[in-house]
């Protein structure tokens, strides 16, 4: 028992970092009332709930993945054992029925679930009222006027892309991208059990997408204030705040830096310049994902080496297992994946950083559309 609760140095450092970060976060809050007003708005309660639910279920999944991964590692080390050993973390035992009756063993769980959900709904509905503002008035704009929370990700995307991308193209790409997910995942392993070891890349890609979606919603809810201006959590929403728009197009910046002023006068040159930049982005993105999908587990690198050598080795040598998976992938699967990965998973954070950190407005300007 004592060993279970023993704190290793790594855990202690993590704990310390968490405590310091929490302390800093609390210290940086200037306006608790504003923070409370945002998080207690009835329609924002689901997001607050998700901040707890998503980590909990992630933990539940990760815990089972770890257990399965340990079993897999043990059996792959010892092929002889693999032939006779059980294949589940909680294996079947002699005397147990292999199958059980749905009535009552499943039906009672379903019944219990409905009862619990009903109770939660009743308590929630009695304690918290659905919001109702003043009657609709087209002459009085709500500021900030926000979409329902589950669409705030799209609304936040409007900051980084023009509406035709953020509102139409991106949602369509996300939908189609989700649908093609099973068809581009050529890995036959990990079908019906939690595992990370065998599906590192697929799970990682989905997790990144899911996290981005949640992150955009959190930004849209907690950070965007009147005028869709960036207010840190705890900062007072200033309805008279004006932000000087410093954003410039990439071709203007390049023209200013190189002295090649032709670039910002001729639309043909602007369009060609933008096309080259976007093409380069796709090329670099494709190389990045290709490199990423061949990275194996860090634990597969010789642990006796010092850590910097291990990192270097991890970054330079493709993993054998991941190579095997790639060889099973057809060209069509590979290209489809690359297209969705670059346009959805990579373009979003890249444009976010370009806009927020480097104050770049557009990278590709044409008379018909801007990207």
């Amino acid at each position: 028992m004592a060993k279970r609760f023993a704190l290793s140095r790594g855990k202690l450092i993590t704990l310390l970092v968490v405590v310091v970060l929490t302390g800093l976060a609390v210290w940086s809050v200037h306006d608790w009332h504003q923070l409370w007003k945002i998080s207690s708005a009835p329609d924002n309660v689901p997001i607050v709930a998700m901040l707890f639910l998503v980590p909990f279920f992630t933990w539940l999944g990760v815990r089972q993945s770890q257990a399965n991964d340990q079993l897999i590692a043990k059996l792959e080390e010892d092929p002889k054992l693999a032939k006779s050993h059980h294949r589940k973390v909680e294996p079947w035992r002699p005397g147990w029925a292999r199958e059980i009756h749905v009535w009552p063993y499943l039906v009672r769980i379903e019944f219990l679930a409905t009862v619990i959900v009903t109770i939660i709904l009743f308590v929630w509905s009695i304690t918290l009222n659905a919001p109702l503002e003043e009657p609709a008035n087209p002459n009085l704009t709500m500021n900030p006027s926000k979409a329902p929370w589950y669409f705030l990700g799209l609304q936040e995307m409007l900051v980084y892309f023009d509406p035709w991308i953020a509102g139409v193209v991106m949602p369509s790409l996300i939908m189609v991208g989700l649908m093609v997910f099973p068809y581009v995942d050529s890995n036959p392993l990990g079908n019906g059990y939690y595992t990370f070891r065998q599906r590192r890349f697929a799970v990682g890609m989905f997790a990144i997408g899911f996290l981005q979606w949640i992150l955009l919603i959190v930004i849209g809810t907690f950070i965007r204030g009147p005028g869709w201006i960036w207010f840190w959590p705890g900062q007072t929403w200033d309805h008279n705040a004006v932000v000087y728009d410093r954003n410039r197009d990439l071709h203007d910046i390049v023209a200013g830096m190189t002295g090649f002023s032709m670039l910002s006068t001729s639309w043909v040159l602007k369009a060609i310049f933008g096309l080259i930049v976007v093409s380069l982005f796709f090329l670099v993105g494709a190389l990045f994902f290709h490199w990423l999908m061949l990275r194996g587990g860090f634990d597969r690198i010789d642990p006796s080496l010092p850590w910097w050598k291990r990192i270097k080795l991890w970054m330079t040598t493709p993993d054998e297992f991941e190579k095997k998976l790639l060889s099973r992938t057809s060209l069509l699967q590979y290209l489809t994946f690359q297209f969705f990965a670059i346009t959805v998973l990579l373009a979003m954070p890249v444009k976010l950083v370009l806009r927020l950190v480097f104050t770049i407005k557009y990278v590709w300007v044409t008379p018909w559309f801007n990207v």
């Binding site: 689901p46 539940l60 897999i72 147990w96 009535w103 918290l128 669409f151 139409v168 059990y193």
Partner: protein, 308 residues
């Protein structure tokens, strides 16, 4: 208590004066035998499962818990027959399943139930909509509870749909042979979001009005189909004939938009979603039930890709 002496009286009467049987005696005799019969029959009704009424409803007896009856309990019930009679012992483990798909479906039922009740009090017109909400909140018995529950169940349904999807990804359950059912699920996710969004406008308050204004303004920018989208002007799109006009039934969010979102919310999308749900559930069975917890596979056991 008085029955016994009565009985004796009648008996004495019949035994003693057979020839002199009066009409009263005959009636008494008939009543007694009827009563005895009723008592006899009532004894058999003590077990309701033995009645014809019960058997006509449930078709099979549930009084014994032998395997056959347990299977029939599921197979012969229209609400339960989506389930198989028996499932893998591990398939009910909550840490594996999370139960989010089932809860999502239950929330859909809750929303249908509360939604139908709300429809009794709501008129989708600019003159009445907002007043109806006030009426619901202040005068209708349990009206506030009804509206709150509809709202929160809708929010919860969005969350459970996402978590269900998350579980399916983590367990690799979208893999062969369930790829198509995953696609059906993605469509259901979108329909869930649209259901929630169309309902947002219905109270006709500032919140819904501006949320829908922001949402539909994006439709203006649809490439080729929107008046402000790329190549929209070149294709003759104006604010009065583009895709946003079609969604709102006008160039601004007004009475037509209210009616359209009401019909999509109450009839259109639920109907489409029901069809997709039917396919989704049916495919679960056809694809072999829940995907796991399956025994783990090992790297050397990967089969080579088949080449035609």
């Amino acid at each position: 208590m008085e029955e016994t002496p009565d009985k004796k009286d009648t008996k004495q009467l019949t035994e003693g004066e057979k020839a002199n049987t009066s009409l009263v005696g005959k009636v008494r005799e008939g009543a007694t035998s009827l009563k005895e019969r009723a008592i006899e029959e009532a004894k058999t009704y003590k077990d309701p499962q033995d009645t014809q009424l019960w058997k006509s409803i449930f078709r099979v007896s549930h009084d014994r818990s032998d395997p056959r009856n347990r299977s029939l309990a599921v197979l012969s019930n229209v609400f339960l027959h989506l389930h198989p009679a028996k499932i893998n012992r591990d398939a009910v483990r909550y840490p594996f399943t999370w139960g989010m798909g089932g809860i999502t479906f239950y929330l859909f039922i809750v929303l249908t139930f509360t939604g139908v009740l709300l429809m009794f009090y709501y008129h989708p017109t600019k003159a009445d909509a907002f007043k109806d909400i006030l009426y619901l909140e202040h005068d209708v018995p349990f009206g506030k509870l009804l509206r709150n529950m509809h709202r929160w169940a809708a929010h919860l349904m969005v969350i459970t749909t996402w978590l269900h999807m998350f579980r399916v990804v983590l367990t690799g359950s979208y893999k062969r042979p369930r790829e198509f059912n995953w696609c059906v699920g993605v469509v259901l996710l979108v329909l869930t979001l649209l259901l929630s969004f169309t309902g947002y406008l219905l109270p006709d308050d500032q919140l819904g009005f501006w949320a829908v204004t922001v949402g539909t303004n994006m439709a203006r920018a649809t490439p080729m189909l929107g008046s402000e989208g790329p190549f929209g002007i070149q294709l003759g799109m104006t604010p009065f004939n583009d895709v946003r006009f079609g969604l709102l039934g006008g160039s601004i969010v007004d009475s037509n938009a209210l009616l359209r979102s009401y019909i999509w919310h109450c009839i259109g999308i639920p109907l489409v979603a029901s069809i997709f749900m039917a396919v989704h559930f049916w495919r679960i069975r056809k694809d072999g039930g829940i995907s796991g917890p399956a025994p783990v596979m090992l790297e050397p056991e990967m089969k080579a890709v088949k080449k035609k």
